[in-house]
């Protein structure tokens, strides 16, 4: 029994005290923590719009209407022994529960966590606590540059520590991982974002393009995703 699988999301009705200024739509947010034993659900977000401002205005004890868990989360193949997760910004919030699920299945995790500066790196401790090997990379010292991340990936692949790739939070990292996934025939998954209205596959507003049988197909991030095959996503 799980409260939510890693990568699944909840759809939050961000109302509260905002009155007429409250956002009309719900806001999708992946679960940062979904602990069935305590019934605790956590979200990690950055305040940058009306929805997150309304969330931040909530006071302890106030109710928040959440719909979910929704969507298809990450899938861990039991044959994998070592996986590499690569994330940036709030994308790390989506990947942290994956690292915990992998640890529970005795899959070793290497986490390349990208941020602008060391003080902006989120969740490194969460990854470390799962036993993951954390490799932080930063814009401030140049270590997050694609060629540097490529060197890290080359070493991990050479050490047979990359049975699968998982990526979230950066189009640039997505393209980079897609290239490595294809060159080295390593499978992968990506968690994608898109503006949503319903979250249940009804409205078809959250579509993104994917490769499908040599053609481009529009798939719903809320329903067919938000986790997709790394190779099929069009960055």
């Amino acid at each position: 029994m799980t409260l939510a699988r890693p990568g699944q999301f909840f759809h939050l009705l961000c109302t509260g005290e905002m009155g007429m200024l409250a956002p009309f739509f719900r806001r999708p947010m992946s679960a940062y923590l979904a602990d069935p034993s305590s019934g605790r659900l956590e979200f990690l977000y950055k305040v940058n719009g009306r929805g997150t401002r309304a969330l931040a205005a909530l006071q302890p004890g106030e109710e928040l209407n959440v719909l979910g868990p929704l969507g298809r989360g990450f899938r861990l193949d039991p044959s994998w022994k070592n996986i590499v997760v690569v994330g940036r910004g709030v994308g790390l919030a989506t990947l942290a529960p994956l690292a915990e699920a992998a640890a529970a299945q005795r899959i070793k995790v290497t986490a390349i966590l990208s941020a602008r500066r060391p003080d902006l790196l989120m969740s490194a401790e969460r990854f470390q606590n799962t036993g993951a090997r954390v490799l932080p990379v930063y814009d401030s010292d140049g270590s997050s540059a694609p060629e540097e991340v490529e060197k890290l990936l080359d070493r991990l692949i050479a050490s047979r520590l990359a049975d699968a790739f998982f990526v979230c939070g950066s189009q640039r990292l997505l393209r980079l991982l897609q290239r490595f996934s294809e060159t080295h025939a390593i499978p992968g998954q990506v968690a994608l974002e898109q503006q949503m209205a319903c979250g249940l596959g009804m409205c078809f507003c959250c579509v993104r393009p994917f490769r499908e049988d040599g053609k481009i197909a529009q798939r719903r991030v809320c329903w067919e995703g938000p986790v997709f095959n790394l190779q099929e996503a069009l960055a």
């Binding site: 898109q194 209205a197 409205c203």
Partner: protein
């Protein structure tokens, strides 16, 4: 924190009031159904589909359509702008995959259709005249390529032309969904009735636009889109009233309905049934809650049959225009 998926009740109490309504020769168990494009199989996780008055499908087209560029929606004050662009898997997939899914349930299946010409509308209706489909809802609010992209339902003439072709093509009950972007909803409604429509759906979305003052760009990928949600309710309620006065066939109200009280207002204004759309995007169980709320409303007000509410708007003599008396 509450999770709606977990705590939604599927209330199967027998209503103490008769909620059934007649739409032409179809009898619906209750007057509440989803609006086209705001319903999908995913809602099965949320409530018991057998509670619906009817199913209304997302609009289908004969051939595959990928839909419009993103962003496809924008939120507005108490409303939603959309330009989804009718993505459709096409007729063949509908008949092979979607139709069998809905046949597992009791409520009648209303299939919404769209086509770029009157003849293609008729052809699609003919191909959908098959067992398991209870009625056709012709979405004639879409652009007519024979009229410079103007929607069929903008004018009485083009409405009459397309409805006449549809009427000749199918024996199924024919519902016609009108556009609010017309100057004279009563005239368009009368034209649809004259051409053989069995019911009217009032209405599709109101054409609107949103601009992002930060980026100087339109908020929708296709610049303009249809407004729906609570923001449009007074306008569509007025149009429902005007259409219902103009015709003798049933009118189905559709615009900003989110509560049982909203539905009652539409019935009083002359609607025989209602469609719930945007509200479902915010509250997936809005439709069953409205059905429960209608039963409660009727009980509380001592109304034995919900059809007694249809057109029961109380008008004082003084509020009637002099010319009408």
């Amino acid at each position: 924190m509450t999770s709606r998926l977990a705590d939604v009740k599927t209330d199967s109490r027998e209503p103490q009031v008769d909620l059934s309504v007649r739409i032409g020769r179809l009898t619906l168990a209750n007057p509440v159904m989803p609006a086209s494009g705001t319903f999908a199989e995913g809602l099965e996780q949320v409530f018991d589909f057998n509670r619906l008055g009817a199913f209304v499908t997302k609009t289908i087209t004969r051939d595959y359509r990928s839909g419009n560029p993103t962003p496809r929606v924008a939120e507005t004050a108490s409303g939603m702008l959309n330009s989804i662009g009718i993505p459709s898997k096409g007729l063949a997939t509908f008949l092979s995959d979607t139709l069998p899914f809905y046949r597992r349930y009791r409520p009648p299946l209303i299939v919404s259709i769209s086509a770029p010409t009157a003849e293609q509308f008729a052809e699609l209706a003919r191909e959908l005249t098959v067992p398991g489909i209870a009625a056709i809802e012709a979405n004639i609010s879409c652009p007519n390529i024979e009229a410079d992209g103007r929607a069929f339902a903008m004018l009485p003439d083009s409405t009459e032309t397309v409805v006449r072709r549809l009427r000749a093509a199918t024996e199924l009950p024919l519902w016609v969904k009108l556009t609010p972007n017309t100057a004279d909803i009563a005239a368009v409604a009368s034209a649809a009735e004259a051409a053989g429509a069995d019911a009217l759906v009032v209405a599709n979305t109101i054409l609107g636009m949103a601009v992002d003052a930060d980026t100087f760009r339109p908020r929708l990928g296709s610049i303009m889109g249809g407004l729906s949600g609570p923001a449009v309710k007074p306008i569509i309620l007025r149009m429902t009233y005007q259409a219902a006065r103009a015709v003798s066939i049933p009118v189905i109200g559709c615009g900003g309905i989110g509560t049982a009280e909203d539905a009652v207002e539409y019935l009083l204004a002359g609607a025989t049934a209602v469609q719930v759309g945007t509200a479902t995007f915010l509250h997936p169980n809005a439709t069953p809650e409205i059905i429960d709320g209608l039963a409660t409303f009727c009980c509380r007000r001592g109304i034995a049959r919900i059809e007694d509410l249809v057109g029961a708007l109380v008008l004082d003599d003084a509020s009637l225009p002099a010319a009408a008396s």
